[in-house]
């Protein structure tokens, strides 16, 4: 049926692959790290194994910064037959995900539950690295196939990681739910991809865009395909109505993994969403106009508003802090979607900045949750009572992070929300009501976030146990640094916002 390629063609394919390798060094490095960790796991014996593995991962991931930094000098462009792009946008997310992976490792090292639950840390760190690779590729993928493969790499690693406490019923349940939900979602997305491919005979998103713009398409099929694809992306970003897996998985998974999923996996979803919607979907002249007959904005607007309202309102009812943060992360997906809706460079910048701020404050909050559960063995709100006097630094730090999550000054979360809302408002009167909903739901979030400090500082402990709980010097130093950073970037946000603006350059972007 198909002709086999000739020898000359094979030669040219090989030369293209070779030339692409130069732009792929961080990913290669991370893959080597991944395999190295597995081998190290097999080679190591002894009691300190998990600690050594953790530090090795940390150093290994840190090393990749060197290779990523070198990519700034490279020309933005497509590689590997348009499968993969290198641009400032992708580099931004490379930093982001590697840093996320490092943070997950730090949190894991701090979490005592691993010592109790897991006999051998085994592949855990390798899987964390695998997920980093997958997410890095998601941010840089420019072909449907690459998108699918990268997403599956992330998902498969995440399924295993969320069920890593094998003997813990909740962790196993989380893994099962994540697996079923994720598999179905990616199946739906794949079916959507196949429809797009059928319409355009292309898998490269830039070419799809051109094809759609040049030859037109059947709107009905386009709608169906986009909705199915949205199911896949929506599942990654955890926005209503594709969020259902997240509260259960976040609650059941090991806390470092919850943090990792809620920050990095969500960010990867957004990286993909932005690139896909900005490049693959052909656009009209202005966002007010329907994009070639179909108003995609409505889809995103409904998702965003529903996420903000749903996430915040349901979070009020939560008794488990991890679950509470899970619902709040749904709401944050809604805020981030507001930035996507803006559909221009300012919006992209706002989203990137918000992701950075979210990275800082959400990881930090989860870090404190880990430390507290180390001491109390519990994550329910009632068990936070009276902790303020026993762990003053943790209490203060958590309060700062939560204030930042609400979006109050002088924290970095405030600047993030401010940038999102001002990007919305800069688009004119049409978006005022969206910004208004954003602000109102933030007020709701104030209520449930502040329940935590309320319990810590103003309510008496259930058990009259007056000894103070010391989380250790390193942990305290870490919390203090994070707290200072949260406030520091709330006051001097210029470097971060410049970085976000610089990184909003996307290859092939021809919006407006």
């Amino acid at each position: 049926m198909f002709e086999l390629p000739s020898g000359a063609e094979i030669q040219s394919i090989i030369s293209i692959l070779k030339s692409g390798l130069g732009f792929f060094i961080p990913e290669i490095y991370l893959s080597i790290l991944f395999m190295g960790l597995i081998i190290l796991d097999l080679a190591l014996k002894g009691r300190n194994k998990s600690g050594i593995l953790g530090w090795a991962t940390l150093i290994g991931l840190g090393g990749s910064f060197y290779f990523i930094a070198q990519q700034h000098a490279m020309q933005a462009g497509e590689h590997f037959f348009g499968m993969y792009v290198l641009d400032e946008y992708a580099i931004f997310f490379k930093y982001f995900f590697v840093a996320s992976g490092m943070f997950a490792v730090v949190a894991t090292l701090a979490d005592r539950k691993f010592d109790a639950e897991v006999k051998s840390i085994g592949e855990y760190y390798a899987l964390v690295v695998a997920m980093v690779i997958g997410m890095v590729m998601m941010a840089a993928a420019s072909d449907l196939l690459m998108i699918f493969l990268a997403m599956e790499l992330v998902s498969l690693s995440a399924y295993i990681l969320s069920g890593y406490f094998k003997r813990d019923a909740r962790s196993s349940e989380a893994a099962l739910k994540y697996l079923v939900y994720g598999a179905v979602s990616s199946g739906l997305m794949l079916y959507g991809f196949s429809l797009i491919y059928g319409m355009t005979a292309e898998t490269n998103i830039l070419k799809i865009s051109m094809e759609l713009a040049d030859h037109g398409y059947d709107p009905l099929v386009m709608i169906l395909a986009t909705l199915l694809i949205m199911a896949g992306f929506g599942y990654k970003i955890g926005a209503f109505p594709f969020h259902f897996w997240s509260p259960d998985v976040y609650e059941g998974a090991p806390t470092p993994i919850t943090a990792y999923l809620s920050v990095a996996s969500k960010a990867a979803g957004f990286a993909l969403l932005l690139r896909f919607f900005y490049i693959a979907v052909p656009h009209g002249v202005s966002p007010y106009e329907d994009i070639l007959g179909i108003d995609w904005l409505t889809l995103l607007v409904i998702m965003s508003v529903a996420s903000m309202i749903y996430g915040n309102v349901v979070a009020i009812w939560q008794k488990n802090v991890k679950r509470l943060l899970a619902y709040s992360s749904i709401a944050h997906a809604g805020y981030l979607l507001l930035g996507v809706i803006v559909m221009d460079e300012i919006g992209t910048q706002a989203v990137l900045f918000y992701l950075l701020s979210y990275f800082l404050m959400n990881y930090a909050a989860f870090y404190v949750v880990v430390l507290i559960s180390n001491r109390t063995g519990s994550e329910t709100l009632d068990d936070y009572r009276g902790l303020g006097s026993k762990m003053p630094l943790a209490g203060a730090a958590l309060t700062v992070f939560l204030i930042s999550l609400v979006g109050l000054p002088p924290t970095v979360g405030f600047i993030g929300k401010l940038m999102i809302f001002s990007a919305l408002l800069s688009k004119g009167a049409l978006y005022i009501w969206l910004a208004l909903i954003g602000v109102l739901t933030s007020v709701i979030s104030l209520y449930y976030y502040m329940l935590i400090p309320l319990n810590m500082f103003l309510r008496e402990s259930l058990e009259p146990n007056e000894k103070s709980l010391n989380p250790g010097f390193l942990a305290q130093l870490m919390m203090a640094v994070l707290m200072i950073l949260t406030i520091w970037f709330g006051l001097f946000f210029e470097p971060l916002s410049e970085f976000a603006r610089y990184s909003s350059a996307m290859f092939g972007l021809s919006l407006y």
Binding site: L179, Y197, G198
Partner: protein, 105 residues
Amino acid sequence: MEQLTTIGINHYLTISAILFALGLYAVMTRKNAIVVLMGVELILNAANINFLAFSHYNGGMEGVMFSLFVIVLAAAEAAVALAIIINIYKIFKSVDVSSIDSMKE
């Protein structure tokens, strides 16, 4: 009439749509986790049929390549899934998806 008798792209697409629907139905209604995963496989294979049919009628190798990767990936996913389900069975002594709902609301 010729439309119906001569095998064309519509036939493939119809088969694929039916498979897709069956897969979804299985995922939504079956209790056994293994069967649910088989539903997922059906969905993936429905997409595969689409890819191959389009590849054939549009020309070009991308679709074939896509479906090859999907098959490989489905195998990997099945491996992970079975590991998780075996673990679930160890803990809950059951693989009934609908009864595993300790975390909710």
